[in-house]
């Protein structure tokens, strides 16, 4: 057995420190936002509308708005994303088509979120005339969620064993029947995990809704898909940059941040946990 070199000891310690830094970052953020935010969260905060020019009351309309926007985005992106993944894995198109589509999906995933906002502003708000609305915001967020849903669905579809496709085809089922009745049901848990993952991503996005959906303050709740809407992430931004009562607003922003963080992180943790369970199941 060779004696461990000093370089190795120092090197491994440095790698450990790098990993430790991640835990430290996460801990620090959770600690500061948790400690200051927790004091301001109560039932009234979750269920009431803001009052007294944003210095009192709750954030209920912003919570509802974020739910609408997220739901809308998923409703738009899910069918498109799953269909795209089905095409890529089941209909196995020619090599160059796969390459073109993969490159465009990867690049779409790398587009800065504010650029999605500008696209939504030009196309949905102005050109299609939806105005600053839930609809415009949902469509914009949906395009942003599309790459996440496609890659998760692809992973789920690829994991379905080839043998059960062949079994179905051998029984005389057509390709579409095989996809609809055999492959998709088997891939469903994995696809759902992708949906949950994209919910976490979409719910926390701010830049794409800045010019397409969000309003700082609205009386009451939205009544149609063409209404402007309050949203939790935008609410935090607005509290910190507008208004005239910085101290009160910061307190509410802490609570809103904790709420958003809790929402997004629990959704992501659920997705991570489900995915780990599924990967184990595939390998078993």
């Amino acid at each position: 057995m060779k004696r461990k070199s000093i370089a190795q000891k120092i090197g491994f310690a440095a790698l450990g420190a790098c990993m430790g830094a991640n835990i430290l970052f996460l801990g620090t953020i959770l600690f500061f936002i948790g400690v200051k935010g927790l004091g301001a969260i109560n039932w009234a905060f979750l269920t009431q509308a803001p009052r007294d020019s944003m210095t009192a009351g709750g954030v209920a309309p912003a919570i509802v708005g974020t739910l609408y926007l997220t739901l809308g985005a998923i409703l738009f992106a899910l069918p498109l994303g799953v269909a795209c993944a089905v095409y890529l894995t089941e209909y196995s198109p020619k090599g160059w088509i796969v390459n073109v589509l993969r490159i465009s999906i990867n690049n779409l995933a790398g587009v800065p979120s504010v650029v999605f906002g500008l696209f939504g502003l030009t196309v949905f708000v102005k050109y299609m005339g939806f105005g600053v609305s839930i609809l415009s915001g949902s469509l914009t967020l949906g395009i942003l969620a599309l790459p996440v849903i496609i890659s998760a669905s692809q992973e789920a579809l690829v994991a379905v064993p080839q043998s059960i496709r062949e079994a179905s085809l051998a029984l005389g089922a057509t390709q579409w029947e095989t996809i609809r009745k055999v492959v998709l049901p088997a891939a469903l848990p994995g696809i759902l995990t992708g949906v949950i993952l994209s919910v976490g991503r979409v719910a926390g996005e701010t830049a794409p809704i800045l010019f397409t959906a969000a309003a700082f303050y609205l009386k009451g709740y939205p009544d149609s898909v063409f209404s402007e809407v309050m949203a939790l992430p935008y609410h935090i931004y607005a509290l910190m940059t507008e208004g005239t009562h910085p101290e009160e607003q910061t307190r509410i922003a802490y609570a809103s941040s904790l709420l958003l963080l809790g929402l997004v992180l629990s959704v992501s943790m659920l997705a991570i946990w489900l995915r780990q369970r599924q990967r184990k199941a595939y390998h078993a």
């Binding site: 060779k2 461990k4 370089a7 190795q8 090197g11 491994f12 790698l15 420190a17 790098c18 990993m19 830094a21 991640n22 970052f25 996460l26 953020i29 500061f32 936002i33 498109l80 269909a83 795209c84 089905v86 890529l88 209909y91 198109p93 589509l101 490159i103 465009s104 999906i105 779409l108 790398g110 587009v111 800065p112 504010v114 650029v115 999605f116 906002g117 500008l118 696209f119 502003l121 196309v123 057509t174 579409w176 719910a203 926390g204 830049a207 800045l210 992430p233 935090i236 931004y237 910190m240 940059t241 922003a253 941040s257 958003l260 963080l261 997004v264 992180l265 992501s268 943790m269 991570i272």
Partner: protein, 294 residues
């Protein structure tokens, strides 16, 4: 009859599958269409190299060099943090962590990656900036330095998870061969594994960079917002994304200012597009080299 239905369904899927390409092309078209009118007012070189950004002054000045410099400046600062930390974490996960540790640490990195950027921005504004201002005795806390710190933390999980992927492609046999000729674990890591995964790791760095330069809410809240070419890392700056997000609400539709903001977005898009294509090309070559082409 049945065959016709099958063919119809296949065409339907083909059409829908091209939606992501359509959106990407749509984004490019929109950016060009809304950006180009500004070059009737300002020449491209005056736009790119002009040092004064006073879009609402009379007469307005549209020189975006301060914004470009600010973006590159904070991104470079972020890289100094996220490259060592991200690659180091990936190496730790790949080399040192046992199964039990990995089961905890990988989710920690994913969770860090899923913290919304607005929360990072808020944290930077109310916790980090005041802290740095007191600790370093600065006139203001919202500076390029503060922004780089936060962006570095944000990009670390991106770099870590992609680099870890790259490491997992390195065949076991490389490691065994290295041990067989008497190298210890550290030598194996630095002389065999890291060089073998080199281009995969550079993909991770490029994508981390792409993430940092395109980040919007954080820089909008933390960078300080002044559109001057920074002289020190403790100057407030206004990166490209922050200018777009802060000013689009006030720019009248169809005005020079409006088109100028789209032109900034176009440049930003082209930068991240180039990064992503580079990452794609490098990672494809990398998998071929290691015999893992898919």
């Amino acid at each position: 009859m049945n065959r016709r239905k099958e063919r119809f369904i296949k065409y339907l899927f083909t059409a829908v599958a091209f939606s992501s390409l359509a959106f990407l092309v749509g984004i490019i078209l929109v950016l060009f269409k809304e950006a180009l009118p500004i070059f009737k007012t300002v020449s491209p070189s005056a736009f790119l190299l002009g040092t004064s950004w006073y879009p609402t002054a009379e007469p307005p000045e549209f020189g975006i060099l301060p914004l470009i410099v600010a973006s590159l400046w904070v991104t470079a600062g972020a890289l100094v943090i996220c490259v060592p930390l991200g690659v180091g974490s990936a190496l730790y996960l790949h080399e040192l962590a046992g199964n039990k540790q990995r089961a905890v640490l990988k989710p920690v990195i994913e969770i860090l990656a899923s913290v919304p950027s607005i929360v990072y921005g808020f944290f930077g504004m109310v916790v980090l900036a005041p802290f740095l201002q007191t600790a370093l005795d600065l006139p203001i806390g919202l500076t390029a330095f503060t922004t780089s710190l936060i962006l570095g933390v944000m990009a670390t999980p991106t770099v870590a998870s992609i680099a870890e992927d790259a490491l997992s492609y390195v065949p076991r046999s490389f490691r065994e061969a290295s041990f067989a000729v008497g190298a210890d674990r550290w030598q194996t890591l630095t002389k065999v594994i890291i060089p073998a995964a080199g281009s995969g790791i550079s993909t991770a760095v490029i994508l981390g960079m792409s993430r940092a330069i395109g980040e919007t809410m954080t820089v909008l809240m933390v960078a300080g917002g002044s559109a001057i070419i920074p002289e020190s890392i403790f100057d407030p700056v206004r990166p490209m994304t922050a200018a777009i997000a802060a000013e689009m609400g006030e720019a009248p539709v169809g005005s020079d200012h409006y088109h100028a903001l789209f032109a900034i977005a176009l440049i930003l898009f082209l930068i991240t597009f180039a990064f992503n294509v580079a990452a794609e090309l490098i990672s494809r070559r990398y998998r071929l080299k290691l015999g893992q082409a898919r």
